[in-house]
Every structure is written in C-alpha cells, then in structure tokens.
Amino acid sequence: MEEKASVTKKYQFRETPKAVRILFAILKYAVLIFACLLVLIPLVVVLFGAFKSHKEFLTSGAFDLPTSLNFDNFATAFIKGNVMQGLINTGIILVFSCLGTVITGTMTAFVVQRFRMVLTRVVKTAFLVAAVLPSISMQVTVFQIVHQLGLYNTLAAPIVLYIGTDIVSIYIFIQFLNNISVSLDESAILDGCSYPRVYWSIILPMLRPAIGTVLVIKFVSIYNDFYTANLYMPKDGLEVVSTALYKFIGPYGSKWEIIFAGVIICIIPTLIIFLSMQKFIYSNLVSGSVKE
C-alpha cells in the first residue's frame, strides 16, 4: 500500500514537468535561434551588399537580395584596395613569427623548466613580470626602440615584436613540459645525448600538441591584430589585412559595397580555417587560455 503511494507520487512528479519540459525545450531553441540571428544579421547585410553595384546599393534595402552575383566589388577591394597585398604581407609575418615563436618559445621553456639555477629563475621571473605590462600603452616607448633599430616601416618590426613579446606561448610550453617526465631526459643522457640533443630529439617532438595550441592562438592574434601594423608600418605597400581594411575608411568611405567586399575577403581565410579544424580550435583556445 505504502509502496504504491510512493510510486504514484513519483509518477506524478515526473508527469507534471513534462509539459513544462516541452515549453522549456521551445524556449531553449528560441534563445539559441535569437542569439544566432544577432550574430548573423550584421553579417548578412555585409554579404548581400558586397554583391551590389553602387547604384543598386544606394537604391535597394539593406536586406534585399542582390539582383546578380557581381564580383566587381571584390576585384576592386582585392587589387585597388590592397587587400591582396595585405594577405601576402600577413602571410609572410605569420610564417616567420610562428616559426620564431615555436623555436625561441620551446628553447626558453626547456631551459627554464628543466634547469633549476639562479639564471633560469631570474629569466622566468622576468617573463612573469613582463606578462602584466599593458601591451598597447607600452608602444609609446617601444616605438622609439623600433625606430632606433631601423625597423620602422619594415615587415621585420611586427615579426620581432610578435616573437619577442609573446609570453603566453612560453607559459603554455612550460606548463606542458611540467607533465613530461624528466626520466626520459635522464635515460637519453645516460645513452650519451647532449642537452641540445635532448631538446631536439626528445623534448621538441613531445611538445607537438603544445605547439599546435600555440600556433592556433598565434594565428588568431596575428591575423586579427591591428595596432602593431597600424603603428609600425604605415607605408603604402606594407599593409596587412587589418590595415588594408582600415584604409578603406578614407577613399571608399562612401562606397560601402567595396568596404563590404573587403570585409568578406578578409573573413574568408578565417572561416575556412575555422570550418576545417573546428574541434582543434575549440579545445586549443580554451586549454591555452586556462593555462595562461
């Protein structure tokens, strides 16, 4: 008797929320769809606008579909608007900075994490302190150094800055090294390996996942960075993607369809990379930041 009562009680308990649960489910999807609309609406206008001619752009509504697939605006933005030049320069900067960061970052992390001596401790503390400094405000005085080194208006300026001021990567490498057993190094040394050899044949291959993380973070931050190039490479022909787009505001200020085409071109590489390695980006961005 008592058992039956408890069963009905349980039954009732599960029955009542069922209607509520359906309502909840609808609400959940409504929230998500609303959020997606918020993301997509500003973008859809840009996509539609990029295919319209100047006249069409001025006369049609923002949400009207373009009458034809006209790629003229893309051509103008790509060549006259220097977006192509920007993509090339960004590519060069990306390759060299990523290479440089991986080499110097892993070497620093190896020495600092594996050798506990005064010198490495001092260096580690210096990097720790450096991470706190406000990066954009620092440019007020970094500028003079870059100028004195003769790097102003060269591609080398952002490259050395991206390599030299990247402290997050070193952290990620150190964190990762903490989990690689020292006994591996020791057995290699017993076999007669030198320390640089240990770094090259044992540590570097083991760090591969961490290198992946660093490369993702590096790509996102460099491709999207604006102020470094804006400050150190104002010369024509030295545009990166960001500054090429930024320069649209002047000459194309009234031609939004060309600005839109530029925006679309600039987003496409990011979109391709995101779609092709979505899971990798999710896990690496988060793990990279949590370890920061």
Binding site: F13, I41, P42, A62, A130, S137, V241
Partner: protein, 305 residues
C-alpha cells in the same frame, strides 16, 4: 715550459668541464636564452624602464628636447579632467562584461543540455571571436549607422520607429560599442563555460536526476558551484579588459563623441600630440591599476595555482 703545461692542463680541464654535464647545462642555457632574453630586454624591459623615466620628463617622439619636469605630468593627469575622464568610459565596458558573462553562462548551460544541432549553434555564436577586429568594427559602423539605411535602423523601421543616430548620441553610443564588444567576445566565454560545465562529473547529474532535481535546481546546486572559480577569475580579468579597451571604439568612432578610452587617449597623446612624457605617465597609471587588480587576483586565487 712549466707555465705552458699548467695552462694546457687548465685549458683541458675547461674543455672537460664544458663537455661535462654541468658545463653543458650552463652553455645550453646561455645559448638557448640568448635570443629570447635579448628580445625581452629590447621590447619589454628597456621600454618599461624608459616609460618610468620619461614620465618625469617633457619630450617628443624623437627625444630631442628633453626637459625634466618632476611630477608635472602626473599633476596634469590628475588635474586636467580630460585625461582621467576617459577612465569613466571603462565603466560601460565593465558593466558590459558582467552582462556578457551572465549571457555566456546562460547560453553555455543551454548548449550543454540535450539540444539538436548544438554544434551548429555553438559554431555560429563562436565565430565572431575569430573575426578580424577591423572587419568587426566596419560591420558595426554600418549596423549602427545613424541614417535610415543603417542595418539596425532598417530593422526598426519595419516596426515604425524613426531612425536613431546611434553613434553620435552621447547617451547611447558607448552602449552601442559595448554591444559590438560583447558580440565579438562572448563566444569565447561560452566556450570556456561549456568546458567547465562538461568537466563536472556526470555522476553528480545522475544523482540529482534520481533525487528529482529540476533544471533550475540542477543549475543552481551543481553547475554554478562547479564553475564559480572560473566566474570569479573572469570577473577580475574583465576589470583588466575594461580599462584596456582600444580597438573597437578606436575604429568605429575614432574615440570621438565621448567614446574615447584611456588607452586611446594614451596613444593619441603619445603619437598624435607627441607628448611622450605625458603618455608615459598615463601608461604608468594604467600599469598601477593593472598591478592592483593582479594583486587582488593573486590573493583570491592563491590555492588554485
């Protein structure tokens, strides 16, 4: 002869020392750290020291007419309201980051429940985080355009609302910029919260299900306590973010119409007006604020590190 012999012995022992593992350790350390330390010194240590020294000077970008002025720069900062007033705009972004965190937590909780096409929703909401900052700024310049062909005004006109001058109305323009900022960055917070929620053991959920917990109880008693440390950390970091806002207002409004931020003002003072001394003092003030926040963060998160 005897001396040469001794030198030879010494030389050999030096080589041996280098070949031995202690020597090798030092050699490797110096070799490996050479480039990173030089770069650190050039682009971080020297500029930081310079920043401190310059903040007591009156100088231009080339450093030609240097004049020691003591605390004058700091005095200017704290008496001329036009500099520190830009810090007030940080409050908008700080409130914005509260809203951003709350919304992110809300969306992340939904995405972690049983949802079809969760990956698609997640992907769409996250993507703006990867987008180029200038592209985002241009998109929102158009979105908030004041005349009737701005995106937002077009939508509002369907409901019979007259065009609103979003970016030139001082009462709302900062909120518009905050909106753009949330639009860009919320995806990352959502991703992080999803990671944190998923790291809570599924056993706890099962136990809660057996006890008949509803969705709200589940959130309040399981999810929220599980990710509280991350929320607290994000709140502290968002203060740092709020005082360092630069890109979005710099490109969308150029810092005009009362939308300037402290960092924009610093860069303007340093590069447009060539007042390196004053700009350095501003950077030092920002550094002090950040140091205080970092200290608070270290005190609260000692045990977790």
């Amino acid at each position: 002869m005897k001396n040469a012999g001794a030198a030879a012995v010494q030389k050999r022992s030096l080589i041996q020392w280098l070949k031995g593992y202690t020597g090798q350790k030092y050699l490797t350390t110096i070799l490996f750290l050479l480039i990173p330390v030089v770069l650190l010194a050039l682009f971080t240590v020297i500029p930081a020291v310079n920043m401190f020294i310059f903040s007591f000077q009156k100088r231009d970008q080339l450093g030609l007419n240097v004049e020691w002025v003591g605390f004058d720069n700091y005095q200017t900062l704290f008496t001329d309201f036009s500099y520190l007033s830009t810090l007030i705009n940080s409050i908008y972004y700080f409130i914005g980051s509260f809203i951003q965190l709350a919304l992110a937590l809300f969306v992340a909780t939904i995405l972690c429940s049983k949802i079809r096409a969760a990956g698609l929703f997640k992907g769409i909401i996250f993507f703006p985080y990867l987008m180029n900052g200038v592209a985002v700024a241009l998109i929102f310049q158009r979105f908030f355009r004041g005349d009737d062909d701005g995106t937002l005004n077009t939508i509002l006109s369907w409901f019979g609302v007259d065009p609103i001058a979003w970016l030139s109305n001082k009462a709302i323009n900062n909120w518009c910029l905050v909106f753009a900022s949330i639009w860009r960055y919320i995806g990352f917070d959502i991703l992080m919260f999803i990671g944190a929620i998923q790291s809570i053991s599924p056993d706890i959920y099962e136990a809660a299900d057996l006890d008949g917990a509803n969705a709200w109880q589940r959130f309040w008693h399981i999810i929220f306590p599980g990710i509280r440390p991350i929320i607290a950390l994000q709140l502290i970091l968002s203060v740092k973010g709020a005082v360092s806002v630069f890109e979005i207002p710099y490109i969308i409004t150029g810092g005009k119409m009362d939308t300037s931020t402290f960092v924009i003002k610093t860069i303007e003072t340093g590069f447009q007006y060539q007042k390196i001394g004053l700009a350095s003092a501003m950077a030092i003030v920002l550094l002090c604020i950040i140091l205080i926040i970092t200290a608070i963060q270290k005190i609260f998160f000692k045990e977790e590190r």
